[in-house]
Amino acid sequence: MLGAMALLLAGLSAVWMLQGIGGGNRGFILGLRGTKLAALVTVATAIGVATILFQTVASNRVLTPSIMGFDALYVLLQTGLVVVLGGAGLAGLPPGPKFLSEIAVMTVLASLLFGTLLLRGARDVPRMILTGVILGVLFRSLSGFLGRILDPNEFAVVQSVSFASFNRVDATLLPWAAAITAAAVLAAWRLSARLDVLALGRDPAVSLGLAHRGMVLGVLGLVAVLVSVSTALVGPVPFFGLIVAGLAHGLMRSARHAALLPAAALSAAILLVGGQWLFERQLGQAATLSVVVEFAGGLFFLYLLLKGRIR
């Protein structure tokens, strides 16, 4: 199954890269397309893996990091930075180190906040959803408030991370983003056997000797890193992860993370690369992919809620 998915992704990538490539400027076009492909695959991997990880710590299948407000936290962090340093000051910082330190702060904040939340009352799923939604609204309105006291030029800097778009990708961040994603995914992969135990729930995991607290905080840290990467590259996409995690569970029919993690990453990449190809090249409507993805994801979320599949 994973092999077939990898083949499909390779095929799609080849079509994406080579379709209609003419004589002139070949190198330039390939470079442009390659950057975009790399960005899409990075984002897809980050979202797919982050969602599976988050659903495992939270012991349920309807939550995604974005629904719980992770990406809103990242946007708030960005806005805060613009307020403190000013748009120009921010632009003056070297992009790589700046990105790294943002991710570090985000990771600490998210582990503290969501760690407290999860280690307290993880059993109560409705309460978790409610808390997450409220946190998300809180972060978003704080960003909105900060945005208002900014002057319009500086606000434009913030706005680019606040709305989802698969078209505008910051090429300077891409190598950093790809490297960080690879490191986080590798870490998750190496934890996959322990993630299987974590997924049993707190009591069974503790009785099997898993250091539960440390594991929860560590996994939340990884989720924060991955969400920062995807939000920095394309903005918040709350429901996309839900589709991807649903697909991974449905296709694998196994609870083993060694299968779920690659399946989620691959299905996310197939959907994004395929979707972007369809909308950009075939329908000539590059901007709509994020809208369609979110619409479908939102419907899927409602379906899960209505079917009572909240675990």
């Binding site: 056997a193 299987d196 049993l200 729930g201 009785s207 099997l208 000797g209 898993l210 250091a211």
Partner: protein
């Protein structure tokens, strides 16, 4: 031996356990009894480090549960809580296989697979091994959970109301298996039981809790007397004997 010294516990400001000091003897089958809300589950969860200890000290075979690394403890005792809901969607065989985790940490060897198979067989689950946990009856799922603890193959086994959902024949066969673990395997077992006659028929040692305090402890014959049980459950209870063991009659 499990030693419990001066353990008190409160949840949300409400005291649940009051200064409990007792021991669970090694190489015996110990039954914890007492009315609903007596604190049996809380005490067992504290011993099994599912709940952090607030006050007092608990050692299991010499290991202090507050300071011993949790993965070390998992090779000394297996605990099955009263709430056994599992978050992930698993087949019965996969669930039972997790019992071997403390030993192989993610790399199961052939002897782990053999143990899992034995555990499945011991609880008559081989025919159901490939079924999903949410597609079997409550009693079958309960047996799978016990089989997981069994596969953990530890010196101590702590089970909170393991007879829940089990029919008479499976309940009896579980008690016989636990008895075998103690008598032939030299292991130690502690269970919380509600049906008092299971304690009467199978337990060596009985600890009676009420209102968060130990009100009686000793051999089954010492604790399961008319006076003690009537007081414990605040209802008149008659105790006869059958084949040399107490037989509790609560329909008198």
């Amino acid at each position: 031996m499990i030693q419990i010294q001066g353990v008190s516990h409160a949840i949300g400001g409400t005291p649940i356990l009051h200064d409990i000091t007792t021991t669970l003897p090694k190489g015996r089958l110990t039954a914890l009894i007492g009315p609903n809300g007596a604190g049996k589950s809380t005490l067992l969860r504290l011993v099994g480090r599912l709940e952090p200890l607030q006050q007092g000290r608990i050692t299991v075979a010499g290991h202090d549960v507050a300071t011993t690394p949790t993965d070390r403890l998992a090779r000394v005792m297996a605990i099955l809580g009263q709430q056994t809901a599992i978050a992930s969607r698993l087949r019965l065989a996969e669930l039972v296989a997790f019992g071997r985790w403390p030993h192989h940490k993610g790399r199961p060897g052939p002897q782990d697979q053999a143990q899992v198979w034995l555990a499945l067989k011991a609880f008559a689950l081989t025919d159901l091994a490939d079924r999903f946990l949410d597609e079997v009856s409550g009693g079958q799922a309960q047996r799978a959970h016990i089989a997981m603890a069994w596969a953990q193959d530890t010196d101590w086994m702590l089970l909170d109301e393991p007879l829940n959902n089990l029919d008479m024949s499976h309940a009896r066969s579980l008690m016989a298996r636990l008895r075998g673990l103690v008598d032939q395997g030299g292991r130690s077992v502690a269970i919380v039981v509600h049906e008092i006659n299971y304690a009467a028929a199978w337990a060596d040692h009985v600890i009676a809790l009420k209102g968060g305090r130990v009100v009686a402890q000793g051999t089954a014959a010492e604790v399961l007397t008319e006076a003690r049980l009537s007081e414990l459950y605040e209802t008149p209870i008659r105790v006869g004997t059958h084949q040399g063991r107490p037989l509790v009659l609560h329909h008198a």
